[in-house]
């Protein structure tokens, strides 16, 4: 088992290596001069030269790569062109809102979608099943920001229950925090919930068709014990897998949700980075989010050992 953990951890290194090389190559190997591209249309020769020096673009390619990798290994993501601050410090300042948003969306989505999927599979073919499946198709089709606008329109502008936008740090009070975070979390969580509900239903349908479920029912076990103790437990591996894979939807969605709800998080930092053509910020975000994504899926892989005792490596 220990050998498996080590092997699985080592397997993430080439993946992150590819991401790092890709992010490096993206800027250097694009057709045209990246310094001119970043400087924009109204830049002077001096501006372009300054950007080139700042990004180290005037050095030889292999030296650039060595410097870049050495920096990365020490957690140095480069310096923002616009604000002149280290990208890692900018990320530190903006981390909390994004973390709060994605974690709330994750908790909401998982706690609603898994029961939905279980019930849909249990009542397969009934109107409940149809309702859950319709939710799943709709959830995939309505983009995050459209949903965000609709929620603002209904709950903030019409009903006046919740603030329109903004963010309150959790240390300034839990209730104000919750009032601000609830709409963006719902908007963000719906597509994720749609995915989880769909997979939960499909996996549960497979498991419920197994013989041991019939045995459990035949020996008179209560329905909830059959569903949760026997069926859901054995359906947990695919469900946990899709929860891990779906994190990518949350990350992509957070960038947009923060724009709609004016939340000063990493998504805003990314969008500002695009608008100001601050490429080191975008590179930093790609590396950070990919790293988080790979790490979460590593944990998901390792969790199989606990979820399914049959899995022994």
């Amino acid at each position: 088992m220990f050998a498996y953990v080590v092997r699985r951890v080592l397997a993430t290194i080439p993946v992150m290596g590819v991401v790092a090389v890709f992010v490096f190559a993206l800027l250097r190997l694009t057709p045209g001069d990246p310094a001119i591209m970043i400087a924009g249309d109204i830049a002077t020769e001096a501006d372009i030269a300054a950007i080139r020096a700042k990004l180290g673009l005037d050095e030889a390619l292999h030296i650039q790569f060595a410097t870049w990798m050495w920096g990365l290994l020490r957690g140095d993501l480069g310096i923002s062109i616009f604000s002149n601050l280290p990208v890692s410090r900018l990320i530190g300042q903006r981390l909390e809102p994004t973390l709060a948003l994605t974690v709330t969306a994750l908790i909401l989505a998982v706690s609603i979608a898994v029961p939905m999927g279980v019930v849909a599979a249990w009542k397969a073919g009934t109107w409940i099943d149809t309702a859950v499946m319709s939710f799943a198709v709709l959830g995939f089709s309505v983009p995050v920001f459209v949903l965000g606008f609709v929620l603002i329109l209904v709950f903030s502008l019409s009903l006046d229950w919740l603030p329109v936008q903004g963010y309150t740090p959790i240390r300034e009070g839990f209730v104000p925090f919750l009032r601000n975070i609830i709409l963006p979390s719902v908007a963000l969580g719906v597509i994720y919930a749609a995915l989880i509900a769909r997979i939960t239903r499909a996996t549960m349908l497979d498991v419920l068709a197994q013989d041991y479920i019939r045995t459990a029912e035949a020996k008179g076990l209560a329905t909830d014990q059959v569903l949760l103790g026997h069926a859901l437990k054995n359906a947990s591996v695919p469900i946990v897998t899709v929860i891990g894979i779906g994190i990518a939807l949350l990350i992509s969605g957070a960038i947009v949700t923060e724009t709609v709800f004016a939340i000063p998080g990493l998504g805003r930092l990314t969008v500002d980075g695009i608008l100001k053509r601050d490429y080191p910020i975008i590179q930093g975000m790609v590396l950070l989010f990919s790293g988080v994504y790979v790490l979460i899926n590593l944990l998901v892989d390792l969790s199989y050992m606990f979820l399914d005792p049959r899995i022994r490596y």
Binding site: P14, V15, M16, G17, V18, V19, V21, F22, V23, L26, L27, T30, P34, M37, V137, L138, F140, S141, V142, P143, V144, F145, V146, F149, V150, I152, L153, L157, V164, R198, A202, L205, D206, A248, L249, I251, S252, G253, I255, V256, T259, V260, T270, V271, G273, I274, L275, R277, Y279, I282, Q283, M285, V286, F289, S290, Y293, V294, N297
Partner: protein, 292 residues
């Protein structure tokens, strides 16, 4: 004996009333297909549908709510939202279709190569794993930030984002097929690699690719709208659903109708493509249809 031989070579009987039966069994194909067809017609015939120049600015009639003369109202620069929404359909459909075609053909090519050539497979699939670990919108942003904003570049960026998933799908099909007896028999009887690929492998990838292609199309439309919405997509001089919503974001509280109309059109179109994809999958892979 002769009659048996004829029986064996005769093509299999097609089910009676093929098309009508298919549609009745899979209503989502009909629903999704009709909405999508409507959107395509709207996009093509936008100039004939009571529209004016979508870029025509008229400060005198800014922010008119939907009414008889301006069906969807006017925006903060007095532009007609009805016209802008209709013309915006062109961008969404072109990007959705373009990215789907590009990613599907690219993925087909790479999938066939990786499925048959071991050495390429090891390298290329590691690259694909790396690409897949970058969240889609973020990868598209990173690509768009390095090029000029244009519809062509948006299509290319989104196709690159979707490429790894298509490649994986095709590779999976190829890997499972190349061990099948009929492929081994073809190879044993002296069929060359190219011929095996085109006659035996390629036809079997079409059904899963068609389904995957519709999902790529739906996801490409959403990604395009997101890119335009955050200012990294279609240039502002071309109306797209994403940038119409982006421009109206700051005045959403007073004039939410400007955001609402493109939002409804976008959601409806993506829904149509998703329904079409679900229907196609049910039709082409009946084993899966009961479950998903």
């Amino acid at each position: 004996m002769a009659s048996t031989a004829i029986e064996l070579t005769r093509p299999l009987a097609r089910p009676e009333g093929g098309l009508r039966r298919t549609v009745r069994r899979h209503p989502t194909i009909l629903i999704g297909g009709s909405i999508l067809l409507l959107m395509v017609l709207v996009a093509i015939f936008a100039p004939l549908l009571g529209t004016v120049d979508p870029q025509a600015v008229a400060p005198a009639r800014r922010l008119r709510w939907p009414q008889e003369r301006w069906w969807f109202g006017t925006d903060m620069m007095g532009r007609d939202v009805w016209s802008r929404t209709l013309y915006g359909a062109r961008i969404s459909l072109v990007v959705g279709l373009g990215a789907a075609l590009l990613a599907t053909f690219g993925g087909l090519l790479l999938g066939l190569v990786t499925g048959f050539i071991r050495r390429v497979d090891a390298v290329l699939m590691r690259v694909m794993d790396g690409l897949m670990s970058i969240p889609a919108v973020l990868l598209a942003i990173a690509l768009m930030a390095l090029t000029t904003a244009s519809v062509e570049n948006v299509i290319i960026a989104i196709a690159i984002v979707e490429l790894p998933r298509v490649t994986r799908l095709v590779r999976g099909v190829v890997l499972s097929l190349r061990e099948q007896p009929f492929v081994e028999a073809a190879t044993a009887s002296g069929t060359g690699l190219a011929r095996t690929l085109f006659k035996h492998i390629l036809p079997n990838t079409i059904a899963p690719l068609l389904v995957q292609g519709t999902y790529v199309c739906a996801s490409a439309m959403i990604t395009e709208a997101i890119l335009s919405f955050i200012g990294a997509g279609t240039p502002p001089n071309i109306p797209s659903w994403g940038n119409i919503m982006a421009e109206a974001r700051s005045i959403f509280q007073v004039a939410w109708y400007i955001v609402l109309f493109p939002a409804v059109f976008l959601s409806l179109t993506v829904l149509a493509v998703n329904l079409l994809g679900d229907g196609l999958r049910d039709m082409l892979d009946p084993r899966l249809s009961r479950r998903m």
